[in-house]
């Protein structure tokens, strides 16, 4: 027998044996962690056992037992969007812990599972399927990011999972007919763009304006709103960036070359910091106007110092961000006399003291508060459909500076914001909150309603 043939000839039988072994290993791995095949079926429509205030607590929907409510989320705990945003889910969880310690929602405790997707849509697909198909969460809560959440929108709709309070201001979440279970929460980028745009058009007349924006729905929605208010002739440059590419030097150089005196930035915090540092390097100092999501002072100052340190420089973060114009749809974290800030600061100090009390933490707690509000409204034994109808019936204003837009025809959340300037590391409010709609011609008006006070016990009333 030819020895070479023995050495080089493959061993199909052995290969197949190994394939079989591999499959067996898969069986073992798959069976060991979960054997059930519950596929998160949609709610049955009417809550047959709900109603009466003393009705026994039942497992009225997937993710709801007599004692618990399990919800899930996808969050950027690592990756380009992690700085700042990774504080949001722990802050929400802190508020849920506070609620759990003070009687829960009709006695049920909230379990919040948030998984890391690294701000990568492919990972989002995977972790959201895990939450819905394996962990059978009742609802997806505060899924973070426009490109990431868009990747799972049709999946969640098909599974009829309530997809509440997406952590993104894209107008994509307002689609009651095609995504009936999805709701936005924060101020959408079109409204925000309009309000910032009007401010710029009024306060920087005759100046050259440049845009710097993320090249997805987030940035493009913002630009849409800006363009409704800023005359085309004032805009001298439109530069976009991809969140996967940290080299923003060409974009900043183009803004500088066009002579933009005011730069409006619809960016995530890391890219606001890169914009600022790169401008500094090019001795370019335009007035910055930054969207709320990219302007949290504490996050920005920290990022600037960290990035500069990587480049062997030392900068004073607070000094660098001083004077940036932005907006806020929640009370400023510096407003210690505000009842909401006092409540959320107290919850933060008890359950999430490791994180700084910044805009991200405030956001996480405020959106968690809104979820608890909606759960109380959904009833003692809610189905998934009950939560959706509860929100569509409208929610009281809560911590936001302007009312929610929720109805059966609108799934937009907060409708207004105030303009402010970053001074001494905090956003300082200038004037009252402004509200508007998403149409090109819809007026921007001062919000005259009174803001609500936080409930004394810190828990929304049923």
């Amino acid at each position: 027998m030819n020895p070479h043939r023995r050495v080089t000839s493959p061993r199909p039988r052995r290969a197949l044996a190994a394939i079989a072994v591999g499959t067996a290993a898969l069986t073992a791995a798959a069976c060991s962690s979960s054997g059930s095949s519950s596929t998160g079926t949609p709610g049955t429509g009417s809550s047959s056992s709900g109603g009466g205030s003393n009705a026994a607590l039942t497992a009225s929907a997937p993710g709801i037992t007599a004692t618990t409510i399990t919800i899930g989320s996808h969050q950027p705990l690592t990756g380009p969007a992690a700085p700042g945003y990774s504080e949001i889910a722990p802050a929400s969880n802190a508020y849920f812990k506070y609620v759990n310690a003070h009687g829960g929602v009709f006695g049920r405790k909230i379990t919040y599972t948030y998984l890391d997707d690294g701000y990568n849509p492919i990972n989002t697909s995977s972790v959201v399927r895990q939450l819905v198909l394996q962990d059978s969460v009742y609802a997806l809560f505060d899924g973070l990011g426009t490109p990431t959440h868009l990747a799972v929108l049709s999946f969640l709709t098909a599974q009829k999972v309530p997809d509440v309070f997406v952590a993104s201001g894209c107008d994509c979440w307002n689609a009651p007919s095609t995504a009936p279970d999805t709701f936005g929460w924060q101020l959408d980028y079109i409204r925000e763009g309009k309000i910032l745009g009007q401010y710029i058009a009024q306060h920087f007349k005759g100046k050259k304006i440049g845009y710097f924006y993320q090249d997805d729905e987030f940035g493009m929605d913002g630009v849409k709103g800006l363009d409704y208010e800023i005359p085309k002739s004032m805009v001298v440059a439109r530069e976009s960036y991809a969140p996967t590419n940290v080299n923003v030097a060409p974009a900043v150089a183009a803004l500088r070359a066009a002579g933009a005196q005011v730069v409006v930035s619809f960016s995530i915090p890391a890219f606001t910091a890169l914009l600022k540092l790169t401008s500094l390097k090019l001795s370019y100092a335009p007035q910055l106007v930054v969207s709320n999501v990219g302007s949290d002072p504490i996050t920005l100052a920290g990022l600037l110092q960290a990035f500069a340190k990587q480049g062997g420089q030392t900068v004073n973060g607070n000094q660098l961000i001083s004077g940036i114009i932005s907006d806020g749809y929640l009370p400023s974290t510096g407003a210690t006399s505000n009842s909401w800030i006092a409540l959320f600061k107290q919850v933060h100090d008890t359950y999430d003291a490791g994180a700084p009390f910044d805009g991200n933490v405030l956001y996480g707690e405020a959106v968690a508060y809104t979820f608890v509000q909606a759960m109380f409204k959904a009833g003692r034994n809610p189905t998934r459909a009950d939560l959706v109808s509860a929100i569509e019936a409208g929610l009281p204003q809560g911590p936001a500076v302007a009312p929610y837009d929720y109805s059966s025809t609108s799934h937009f959340g907060i409708t207004g914001t105030f303009i402010g300037t970053i001074t001494n590391g905090a956003l300082v409010e200038q004037g009252s909150a402004l509200t508007t709609d998403i149409t090109p011609t819809g007026a921007i008006t001062s919000y005259t309603g009174t803001e609500q006070q936080a409930p004394a016990n810190g828990i929304p009333s049923p």
């Binding site: 493959p10 072994v21 069986t27 791995a29 948030y114 990568n120 849509p121 090249d215 996967t244």
Partner: protein, 332 residues
Amino acid sequence: MRRTLAGLMITALIVVFLSIKLNAFRDYQIAEIGVYVTAVAGLSVLTGLSGQISLGHGAFMAIGGYTSALLLLHLGWPFIIVLLIAAAAPAAAGAIVGIAAARLRGPYLAGATLMLGVALPAIALAYPGTFGGDQGLNVVFTAPGWLGSSFPLTRWQAWVTTATALVTLFLLANLSRSRIGRNWRAVRDDEVAAALAGVNVAMSRVLAFVVSAACAGLAGALLAITTALVAPTAYTITLSITLLTAAVIGGLGTLPGAIWGSLIIVLVPTYITDLATSHGLSTKISANIPIAAYGLILILVMLAFPRGIQGAVRRLFVGFAQHEKEGTSESS
């Protein structure tokens, strides 16, 4: 040959059984494993048999993924045809890369393919009108009507990817035992000797790239229908490195190794995350543990089994059949 086919049928039946028995998320993971097996097997053949390295296989997956997404989106062709084109398009790209690669060795080849892996997905950003920019394209893929409306989509995805993976393994197994496979090994072991023996060295190397790229393209199409999305962020350089890691952990040049490697890269991160969160570790730590564990496993496998898991398995079987092996070595 008949036994090979029978074995494949049995494997397929086991997967069908599992996909019905387990929950929908496990189906999704089976589908993910199918995707990786398809790509890793192709890469393993390229690196292990023909001795060429590629750090840019994510780019071929991107070509396959975008090709299938565009065909499904605009033309609505049957998936089986889409799949074939999704293999053909990157195969053509693989031929071009292969021609360049045939002149490059070692680190230069690694560098050239790395560049491909970094640069190609960026084309999607340059033409957002066609490719949807950073947002990518949504892929609509549904289970065929004859399965009934209540048939879970994830199960159908698991079936389609597993079937494709098994067919790919079957074809690669045949190819590697054919004249072409022998030529690859000959070129890998000694180019001069191979050339003297009449092997067309350049052709052999280019062909390896074509075959490997076609597998990656198939995997790209399967990934697109599994996640319902093609986006540049899906095909980063990390993906290319992950594929190579899976091939190395599993055992380079061995097809069962592709399965081992894929099992590890799909199941380990989920398992570790579950473990880390269930032990109440802080978010900052539990979020980073899968990445650290992944590195640790890579190091341990390489230290303990330099020939990968399949190498270790093989050694185990050889140990059991020690005297048989001794007989073999005497006869040669």
